[in-house]
Each structure stands twice: as structure tokens, then as C-alpha cells.
Symmetry: C2
Subunit: 302 residues, 2 copies
DNA sequence: TAAGGTTACGGCGATCGTAACGATC
DNA sequence: GATCGTTACGATCGCCGTAACCTTA
């Protein structure tokens, strides 16, 4: 048993058990990985893969058990490298952030700007995806941190930190009936609604708030992206149900925002990362920066 | 980075950072391990050990962090081997049990005998030690299971399962005053006491039961071993305070046992093993056997 | 001077790459 | 015939062992 065999198994999983692709990923010829896999299985005494002809099609029962340990080893090995690099220079490195559009555009700019001032040599790579995909990104080591509102607390392999709480708001064009007067769930439900797609930015909170009261919303457009929602609100398609912090007084001067904290329970945006993933110091500081910015949102809103 | 370097670090810790001893343990010459350590430190970019001259004296801060991951890898690697062996033949293998004298002599014989009937090809290695040492044995991978009454629940790295509850008893020679009449804490405390050493077989329960009531015991002999206690009771040195199941009606016919469940709260014997240690099926069955035997003790006593 | 550690060098074996072949869609 | 995997063989590079040397109790 050696580490390249371990790595091979890890890569095989990422390539749907395709030896050729795995070989390519590992920068060796295909015959090499074929042999290494044979040697490893031989050493263990049982096959790790079910084969159909020569192709690997799935993991054996043993393979599944072993694969769990493989992940542990890969993670630990990774941690050692990160620790050492962090020890050498804790002001240099990369943070891979996976987040949703709303966070990327309306929450992250300030903390990232501040962080970059303190750590100019740390690169920040940001990728957008749906919350479900974010979690995948973490598990596949394509991201170090995920920042989002939905789903992350359910995954047992993740650590989640609360970042900030916020609530939804409705935006309408100036002169729209909802721009004035008290807003109730019933009144809101009379208009066509534009809001987030399932699984995005507190959509679940919207669902539960109205369903619990037996009111059905007429959602005529669902998008992952607040800007798309605003665009169609401006076109007069209906009222926009968006995250409060996604309203910008200057650029959205033509829209009226009305707070819905009384109607929809607050949502909570979290920071998530893999439980056994060592975070270098600069990443820990980045998280601090996020939480500070989160605190500020709380205080400015109140 | 490769697995033998990982193993080297692990072994170095077990040999108090002595390269020569580590080399011997790994069956290679000393110069080989010296070079491998250098290569590894070079790869990481920082030393893992503080050196005094050429000698390694302690871990650096980085070394400590890295060492934690090393243990994880070692454990995972071990697990893979165990899993594979278990998969090949789940009726063959070795169980290393670490336990105290009391358990080894008075509890384990029955379940071990039964287990051996079902798994004749599984070797059982048993070693006796104090509860503290037992925990060390687990951490150093010298034992798979620890069976004892004290301490194991405090260690965060261990899984503990309750095995059975029992209570203390007093043994005296026939004709001794305590052989008759009601036994109270006060009455008991008037006699010289022979019981277990600190940290052994429910000794902590004895302490707390009497201290809480402001009564001091005159413990004139403390042993790790029930048989030693009985021997001196027979010589008339005092009364023996032992675990109830350590009294055997036939072989101890010359002693009188009086139950103390009313005076000393019951003790609980546990099975402990390392949290991330994979247990082969036969070991899981062995644990089952222990718990069945534990159940039986409960029912026969009541 | 014994014990622990490093450095230099030659030899051996593990693992790789090339290449030809087999199977499956 | 394109994709995927296995087998054979020669070449290379990593790692070990021998051995000489350094350093500190």
C-alpha cells in the first residue's frame, strides 16, 4: 500500500471509475494505474470494484468501506500540506469560496474588500452555484468555504457557523398598490410573485410562512438571481420577493422596498466547511471578517 | 510524501524521537530513516522536530499539528487492512484485550469460553494492567478492546459501551463479627479495610460513598488483585472490600460475603475502544458476547 | 568511547513508459 | 473503429545498505 495507490482510488471515484481518465488526471500512462490497482487489490486479497468484462462498474462492499478510509487519508494528507504551507507563510494562499449569487453580490463585497487589504497576497476564487451544488463543491474539495442560506446545516460532514440573519422584503415599481398601506400575507398573495428558485436564498422560509397559513402564492417567475427578479419587476410582471439586503437605495431608486419581517421568519446565512478540513490562518481570519460584516448588518438594520 | 515517511513519524513518536530505535523497529538501517526524515521535512519546508545538536528533542508547533494527522492516516491505513482481512475471512483473526485482574478472572472466562466455541480460529490475547495503562494500550494500538470499570468514559477519543453493573461486597473469615448483624457504614469503618488500589475496580465508588458521609476508612492494604485481598483477609488482617462477583461460593467457602449494595452505589464495567478503529465482525460479536454475559449477571443477581 | 545522527556512493528493485493485444459498445 | 482495459518488456529513478565521518554525553 502506498499513497499513490490511495490517490488513485480517490481519483477513480472522481472519474466515475474510469481508469483512463484517472491516469490522465494523475499524469501517468494508463497501464501504470491499471497495474497499481491490480497490485492494491491483490495486496488486500479481494477486489474493490465490480467488473463488467474489464470495465469497472461499481464498488464492491469492501470497496465502499475502504473508500471511506481513503477519503480520510486524502483529507489528512491534504491537511498536512496546508499546515506546512500555512506555517511557512500564513499570509499567502488561496481561498476557494463557493456561494450563491445573492451572497456574492450583496454580502461578500464588503468583507472581501476588507480582507484583501489585510491579506493582499491571498487569492480569492469565487464560484457561484446552487446550495446543493455548493455542498458538493465542498465534498469534492473544489471549495474550502461555502456561504449560503439553505441546506448546509443538514449535512453531517460539515461544520456550519452562523454568519448573519436577515429577512425578506417585497419590491415593487413606484406607484404600485403595495407601495402604500399595510402589507398582509393575504394582500401580498393577490399579486403575481417573482422570487427565488427552490432551494435558493431563503425560498424555503417563504414557502413555510405562507403554506402554514394556508395561503398559496402565485409564483410566476423563479430565478436564482435577485437581479433577474428586479428586472422583471421593473417590467411590471409582478411583485418581487427578495432578500432585504439585495435592495440598494441608489441603484434601485425606481423600486420601492417594503420590509416583510413581520410576515416571513428571518433567514440565516451560514458559513460551511468540511469537518476534517484544516483551515489555514488566513482562512480563519477571512471567516472572522465575514462574521464581523454579518454583525454589522444586524446592527445597521435594527 | 509517502506512507513509509508517515509510518516513520508514527514510530518516532513511539520511540521518544530516537531515530536509531525507529530504524530498528522499521527493519531498515538508521541512515535510511535519517534521510527519509530530512526529505519529508524538506518537502514540507519546515522542520518537524526541535533539535539539540543532531538529536531530536521535541516536536515543533508544526510537528504537533502534523502528528495529529499522521495518527489519522495510520489509523485509516490500519482500518483498510483490517477490513480487507475481515472481508476475506471474518472468522479468523486476533483480539487484543486489555483488562484488569478482576475482569480477567471473574467476568471474562464465561463469555470468552462461549466466544471461542463460535470462533475457534480467533486468537484472544489478554493483557492485564491498571485502567490508566489500559487506555494507553488502546491509544498505542497494543489493544483493541479495554474492559474495565474506571476512567474510560473520560477519554474523548474512546467509544465506551456499558457492559454490566455490579456492586461491592465485604468478605470476612467465618466467625468474624461482621458475618452477622446489619452492616452500616459506621460499623464497617471500625475494622481495618483491605481493598483495591486507587483507580482500580470501583475504588472511586468506595471513596465517594464513605467520604460523602464523613466517614474515613482505615485502609491498611490496597491491591490491584482480589486474590491478594482475600489472602490477607484469610490471615485475619482485616475485612475485604471487593467486587461482588469476585466471591466464589465453592473456592471461598471459608469466607463469608455480605452484600454492600445499600452502602456503596453500584459500579459499571465498560467496554472501550478507539473511536476511529474499525472493529472486524468477530470482534463485534465478541462484544455482543460480553454484553450478553453482562445481562446475565444482572438477572442472576436480582 | 559509546550512542545518536549525517553524508557519500554503489547496487537493486519498484514503477514507469512504450507498445502490442483483447474486449466491448 | 473508438473506447477502455490488460500484459510484456526494457529503462529509469528512488531507496536501501555499507561505510566513513561528525558530535555530544
Amino acid at each position: 500500500m502506498n499513497l499513490s495507490q490511495i490517490e488513485l482510488l480517490q481519483v477513480l471515484q472522481e472519474t466515475q471509475l474510469n481508469l483512463s481518465k484517472a491516469a490522465e488526471k494523475m499524469h501517468v500512462v494508463q497501464s501504470a494505474v491499471s497495474r497499481q490497482l491490480q497490485l492494491f487489490e491483490q495486496e488486500l486479497g479481494s477486489p474493490l470494484f465490480e467488473r463488467k468484462g474489464k470495465k469497472l462498474v461499481e464498488l464492491t462492499a469492501l470497496g465502499q468501506q475502504v473508500m471511506a478510509e481513503i477519503s480520510v487519508i486524502t483529507q489528512a494528507k491534504q491537511n498536512i500540506k496546508i499546515m506546512a504551507a500555512d506555517f511557512l507563510d500564513s499570509h499567502q494562499g488561496i481561498i476557494h469560496i463557493a456561494t450563491t449569487h445573492t451572497q456574492a453580490k450583496y454580502f461578500l463585497p464588503l468583507p472581501i474588500q476588507r480582507f484583501r487589504k489585510k491579506y493582499p497576497a491571498v487569492r480569492i476564487y469565487m464560484q457561484q452555484a446552487s446550495p446543493e451544488q455548493l455542498i458538493n463543491q465542498l465534498h469534492q474539495h473544489h471549495a474550502d468555504l461555502a456561504i449560503c442560506t439553505e441546506k448546509v446545516t443538514e449535512d453531517k460532514g460539515l461544520v456550519t457557523l452562523e454568519c448573519y440573519k436577515w429577512h425578506h422584503a417585497v419590491v415593487v415599481p413606484q406607484g404600485h398598490p403595495l407601495a402604500e398601506g399595510e402589507i398582509t400575507r393575504e394582500r401580498l398573495a393577490r399579486f403575481p410573485i417573482l422570487t427565488y428558485s427552490f432551494g435558493y436564498t431563503g425560498r424555503s422560509m417563504i414557502e413555510s410562512a405562507f403554506q402554514k397559513n394556508g395561503i398559496e402564492l402565485d409564483i410566476i417567475l423563479a430565478a436564482a438571481d435577485t437581479d433577474v427578479i428586479k428586472t422583471y419587476v421593473r417590467l411590471g410582471l409582478g411583485v418581487g420577493l427578495i432578500a432585504g439586503m439585495a435592495y440598494n437605495e441608489t441603484s434601485d431608486y425606481d423600486l420601492v422596498m417594503r420590509d416583510l419581517s413581520a410576515l416571513i421568519p428571518s433567514s440565516s446565512t451560514k458559513i460551511a466547511y468540511l469537518k476534517h478540513h484544516y483551515l489555514p490562518r488566513y482562512t480563519q481570519h477571512f471567516i472572522e471578517e465575514l462574521r464581523v460584516a454579518g454583525e454589522e448588518i444586524l446592527t445597521t438594520v435594527n
